[in-house]
Amino acid sequence: MEILVCVKRVPDTSENEITVNRDGTDIEREDLVYSVNEWDNYAVEEAIRLRDTGGGSVTVVSLGPEETEEVIRREMAMGADKGIHLMDPVFEGSDGRGVAAALKAEVEKGNYDLVLTGAQADDGAGQVGGMLAAMLQWPFAALVNHIEMSGDGILKIGREIAGGNQEFSEIRLPCVLSIQTGINEPRYVGIRGIRKVASLEIPVHGTAELGIPPEAVGEVGAKVKRIDYFVPQLGDGAEILEGSQEEIIDKLIELLKSKGGIK
């Protein structure tokens, strides 16, 4: 199977405090640590496993600025065969549809049987996979946590639904699946693995190479636009216990006892 996996470079939220800049136009990006979107890493692992059992190839594609190359390379170090970098100044300010439109053009340049995306990325939208599928007029399934081959041109998939229950279906290839975390255990990538792929060529495609009109992407093409960022103030917030650790612990034990939290 020829598999394309869409990956995004995002700030690592478990490593960083995300704060809003002074005028609310963006988050503070100075000291952020970036990595590959958690969901996408599971998608790449799944693609590698499918290739290793059924043959074929895995290509990772990512749309983003210069630095995006580092996550493409990381996923190649994991075991992807090829990387493609979609970069063009006019991509700036794209909404989900713009990103999907660029990815669609890239998919059509290849000969893919299966496209995987993450279930969601840093903006929490979970939109690019479903839009991409619809643009390609390929079938789609969201939140996939199980994939197996099931006869010719058919996959048996599990989707995670409420309460941790699993919905099984059969889906026809070619299709787009959005991958939920927990589908596998992504392999570890060490420095050495990254060094091995350091010199591999990663082609860069812009709107010209993709053959899409610049106005289909970027801020101009966007129907949804961000105005500003702010930090939510919900309710009163927690009473933060202050003092030395001992004092805090004593206070906490007292509170827990009064609420029935310590039996």
Binding site: A141, I161, G164, Q166, S169, I171, L234, I240, I262
Partner: protein, 327 residues
């Protein structure tokens, strides 16, 4: 404004809780508008669901077919394309079904897609100003969404207060013949079966006190200190999703929308950031304590009491003190 539709989820003849949230959201979009509920399903339950929906919506559009017995987004999307007029505004909940149907529906309808809204802040002409969350709730954004060519909008479950008045006597219109004029669309994804989550050794939905651990625990070996704390407190241990994804704990211990819904009296969240999918599994407003090393973690917005600390250091000391005080 264009016509507003609410796609209604239902199961076993009962409306999903989100239905009344969609009604409330529809009214904030346009207080004058008559919101139409779209209900798809197969004979049996469908009539009952439509009657119930008619108590909350001005009009109910019913679509009935055996192929709709199980809500398969790949069947429903092309039917919606046939059914909905140009430039419609379509509301859906942002959960596993909405995430499956909605992004592709927006493309099919050539409409805007506004995912996972948590609030609407009014219209400026054809443009809706809405609020979304990014970076797992650490920041929010205002967004503008142009509704002039229609829009598909998903709403975060629980974010819009439900309108529970049930004061309508909506007309139920059978749209089945219209939708199936061209027959059943070809279906590329066939539903097979549902497999229920396995029951674990402890039923956390019954626990009164939960010590819940998240990614902040860093390593599997550190889980032992959580077990010890829970033991000292007489509590059960639960967790957030990454702990289950890493296979460190069983799925049956996961709290959240894709895990268990718990209703303890006391909930101690250790190294959990407070994503809405996690919080969505905590009901009954327990007394919530959060321990997190990041003072800006969203969990502090919803907890009653917070401690800014490294759990790896704090938890063993807390356990020791509790054990001492029990003597």
């Amino acid at each position: 404004m264009a016509q507003i539709f609410a796609y209604i989820l239902h199961k076993d003849g009962v409306l999903d809780d989100t239905a009344l949230e969609l009604r409330a959201a529809g009214a904030t979009l346009d207080p004058e508008a008559a919101v139409t509920a779209v209900v798809t399903g197969s004979a049996g339950d469908l009539e009952k669901v439509c009657k119930e929906a008619a108590r909350s919506f001005d009009t109910v559009w019913k679509v009935e077919n055996d192929a709709l017995a199980y809500p398969n987004a790949e069947v429903i999307r092309p039917l919606m394309k046939r059914l909905l007029p140009k430039n419609s505004l379509v509301l859906l909940p942002h959960e596993h079904f909405g995430m499956d149907l909605a992004p592709g529906l927006s493309v099919a309808l050539e409409a805007a897609y506004l995912p996972d809204s948590v609030a609407f802040e009014g219209m400026e002409g054809d443009v809706l100003k809405a609020v979304r969350e990014e970076y797992s709730g650490m920041v929010r954004t205002h967004v503008r969404c142009n509704l002039s060519t229609g829009a598909v909008i998903t709403l975060r479950p629980g974010a819009f207060a439900p309108d529970e008045r049930k004061d309508k006597t909506g007309e139920i219109m059978d749209k089945t013949p219209e939708v199936f004029q061209e027959g059943l669309p070809e279906v590329p994804r066939r539903y097979l079966e549902m497999v229920e989550a396995e029951a674990g050794d402890v039923d956390i939905t019954k626990s009164e006190v939960l010590v819940s651990v998240g990614r902040g625990i860093e390593e599997q070996d550190n889980l032992e200190m959580i077990q010890e704390l829970a033991k000292a407190m007489g509590a059960d241990v639960s967790c957030s999703r990454p702990i289950v994804d890493a296979k460190w704990m069983e799925k049956s211990r996961q709290v959240g929308t894709s895990g268990k819904t718990v209703k303890p009296k006391v909930y101690l969240a250790l190294g959990i950031s407070g994503s809405f999918q996690h919080l969505g599994g905590i009901k009954g407003s327990p007394f919530m304590v959060a321990v997190n090393k990041n003072p800006k973690a969203p969990i502090f917005q919803v907890a009653d009491v917070g401690v800014v600390a490294d759990i790896l250091d704090f938890v063993p000391n807390l356990t020791e003190k509790i054990a001492e005080s029990a003597k």
